[in-house]
Symmetry: C2
Subunit: 230 residues, 2 copies
């Protein structure tokens, strides 16, 4: 018998997805009655789920005015990239000390396994999912659950912008995303060699490079969110 999901959990998952995708536009006020009808639940479980998302930074809340989508500004996204650097670099340092050899081997296998998809022009969303999975597995080699948890939260809030950035990157280079793969290899090699300084430097450069393109991606995000797409 499979575990019984509660209504709150279903609603929460839906809302989290919607918030990640900016199905609510930045700063948009959220109408509870409307949304509860849409999700097929009453306002009670809906509000419980909304409160979780406030605590996770997806939404904001104003007393007697209700829930709002988080803002989308370059500053916000730059902050998220920096927080990723903080979490991922420290996790990587710890991983260099603590990861078991077989865990590193397994991660190397994963990297090889996703390589063909990275090389070919597969779906950008899938490509990003693989990238996130690699980074998350890396962070989990630290053995620190809090760091993993924080990274997952950051990933969910930054994904929309990263996807735009990735698409742009592909468009500019004709389906290829040069550098990304070799950056991952560089990080992995430093980890294999248990060289925290080299690993951190590689990770820092890798994330920083995308951070530099973030402001532009935010501009594009706004045009996508407010101009009707075909």
């Amino acid at each position: 018998m499979s575990k019984q999901l509660s209504n709150v959990d279903r609603v929460y998952e839906s809302l989290r997805q919607m918030a990640a995708d900016f199905a609510f536009k930045p700063d948009q006020r959220i109408n509870e009655s409307e949304l509860s009808k849409l999700l097929g639940a009453s306002r009670t479980p809906l509000r419980e789920a909304l409160n979780r998302l406030v605590a996770e930074g997806f939404l904001t809340f104003q007393n007697n005015r209700g829930f709002f989508c988080r803002s989308l500004t370059p500053k916000y996204i730059l902050d998220l990239y920096e927080a990723r650097v903080a979490i991922e670099c420290e996790a990587l340092r710890l991983a260099c000390r603590r990861a078991k050899d077989h865990e590193i081997t397994a991660l190397g296998d994963y990297l090889e396994q996703i390589e063909p998809d990275y090389e070919s022009g597969s779906d950008p969303a899938e490509q990003l999912a693989m990238d996130e999975a690699f980074h998350l597995r890396l962070a989990q080699l630290s053995g620190n659950d809090e760091l993993g948890r924080m990274l997952r939260n950051l990933n969910d809030r930054i994904r929309y912008i990263r996807l735009i950035d990735l698409k742009r990157l592909r468009d500019k280079t004709g389906k290829r995303v040069p550098g990304e793969l070799s950056a991952h290899s560089r990080i992995f090699l430093a980890l294999s060699g248990r060289d925290p300084a080299a690993a951190e430097a590689a990770m820092r450069g890798h994330i920083e490079k995308r951070r530099e393109a973030a402001t532009e991606a935010v501009q594009i995000a706004f045009s996508q969110l407010y101009v009707p797409q075909d």
Copy 2:
């Protein structure tokens, strides 16, 4: 006219305090009806607040079984200390690059201002509050709101153990907490000199030192939580 606090907000603040202080014992199941009576609110706003605390890592939730206090284990506390290292070191590096001179001066003034309280044997809880305030202000000099937000969350979840650790430290050394003050000075001096490497090294050592005493503090925490104190 002062801002009107909602019932949820009041309940949330109370619960957060209670959870930080382990007024709920580790893994303890939380009875909603009882708690709602205690806090003078119905279950609806109570559950909204509880959901926020789940998302913040103070509580856990199991479907159809309700809310539970988080576990208290050495591993959990060690993870929190490591997460602090990740956040605070990166924030400090950024602060070295970005903090305005007058902000650094102001922080130095604050350090001097709290020095007498640190030297004398003032209330440990106050002393810890001052320590947290210093670290938080430091982190805020990074200009990164996410890092500040994360640090505040970590502080709240680790405070109970840190307070125990601080008390022990004082008992062993007769009201003095040697090294703490000079550690802060060392960090501050490196920041003033805009030397990120030195600053990070000082911060890392500072936190790491307390982390090493964490397991012991957790033992004491358990004895305090389950053995009646006078």
